[in-house]
Symmetry: C2
């Protein structure tokens, strides 16, 4: 924290701004550290961890230093402690309640995917507009509900994160419905770019944008170069 004095002469407190990329890296470190922990390692230095995560050692130390002092000078970081701390920072390790909207190919694959559950992301409701799909039990314990029940269910089950896997045509509308229902965080798989707004953070995962990226870089490798 920093102390400042504002125009009225009052002392104000301001948190250090933490880069978005730091948060993303913490999640990556965590996965590596869990792996090392499972293999029985107990201590790691920023240099060693940097090697396996392919980043700069100072980067790791700085990233961690935003949140406290977790290491021992001259020694390194205790793996179990570091794991606990990063989990606390990211508030992973607790169980989150998710709802999915759009039970198509991708939607049902995600519901069936084990990784989410393993990391504490539990789908507890699924919605669709297609009357054919409503009532169907996609996975154990989750029946597809109609959109009309969304707001009520979200509130009743205290759902915290919404996942959009609808076609692009309905993505915006679904986003609005989720926000109205009080959802504060959305993971959007549709190819419509949805923007975070006050009180609701959106992460976009348009696969084809990543492919466009790869395509561009392939061109560069081939030596075609359109830049000035």
């Amino acid at each position: 924290m920093y102390l400042f004095t504002n125009s009225e002469g009052n002392i104000i407190l301001e948190s250090v701004k933490i880069p978005e990329s730091t948060i993303e890296r913490l999640a990556i470190y965590l996965r590596k550290i869990e792996e090392l922990y499972d293999k029985g390692y107990s201590i790691i230095s920023s240099e060693k961890l940097a090697n396996v995560c392919k980043v700069n050692p100072a980067q790791i130390r700085k990233d961690l230093s935003y949140f406290g002092e977790f290491g021992v000078r001259g020694v390194g970081y205790e793996i179990s402690e570091l794991m606990r701390e990063i989990k606390r920072i990211l508030d992973t390790g607790r169980v989150w309640r998710l709802a999915l909207v759009g039970v198509g190919n991708i939607g049902s694959a995600i519901l069936r995917h084990k990784n989410f559950y393993k990391r504490g992301y539990n789908f507890i409701a699924a919605f669709d507009i297609d009357p054919q799909k409503i009532g169907r039990e996609v996975i154990q314990g989750i029946k597809v509900q109609p959109m009309e029940e969304l707001e009520d269910t979200v509130k009743r089950l205290n759902i915290e994160i919404g996942v959009i896997t609808t076609p692009s045509t309905s993505a915006r509308e679904v986003c609005r419905a989720l926000v109205n229902a009080g959802i504060k965080a959305i993971l959007n798989f549709s190819p419509i770019f949805l923007r975070s707004r006050k009180g609701c953070i959106v992460e976009n995962m348009d696969f084809t944008i990543k492919l466009d990226n790869l395509a561009y870089h392939l061109c560069q490798l081939e030596g075609k170069n359109f830049s000035k």
Copy 2:
């Protein structure tokens, strides 16, 4: 382009370095512009486009200026021209040949997904280690092949992009196999972070990392704040 003189006194040519984020944004602009084009618009200013893409107008002008002068001062950008130019820059608009490795839940959902095809990303082969899956026709025209056939098929069909949808345990090994087969670009959906290497670019799409991000920000909203 810039002209420099190196230590031996020779004049060397160096391209302006284009930020990675510029490429990502061009893909986003393109999607919006296509939408506008379909709606029949013909001219747009950087300010208007910035509004719908939620970025700074100068950002759009600078991003485009890396590649040429596509606008008309006092008027704006002609939508059909801009669309053509961005497609040329990203080399989208041509058809790319992809192979998928790991025909599980996510893998088969991706193969069945129409969006990839629509944007010129055509899956023309799929691989798995599971003998149960081999020979099965997941989608029209694509039969699951054993891993042993990967190198040969990639070379014969001139496959350019590899998509990894295996469990994390085999992701690294599959990556190596793809690189060996001559693949230059990989989209990795497994939760193992794969690093780009010389001659092969990797884009990672670990969904759970994005969820960890959302979880962190939800915490912030709730007012729990662990930073110093």
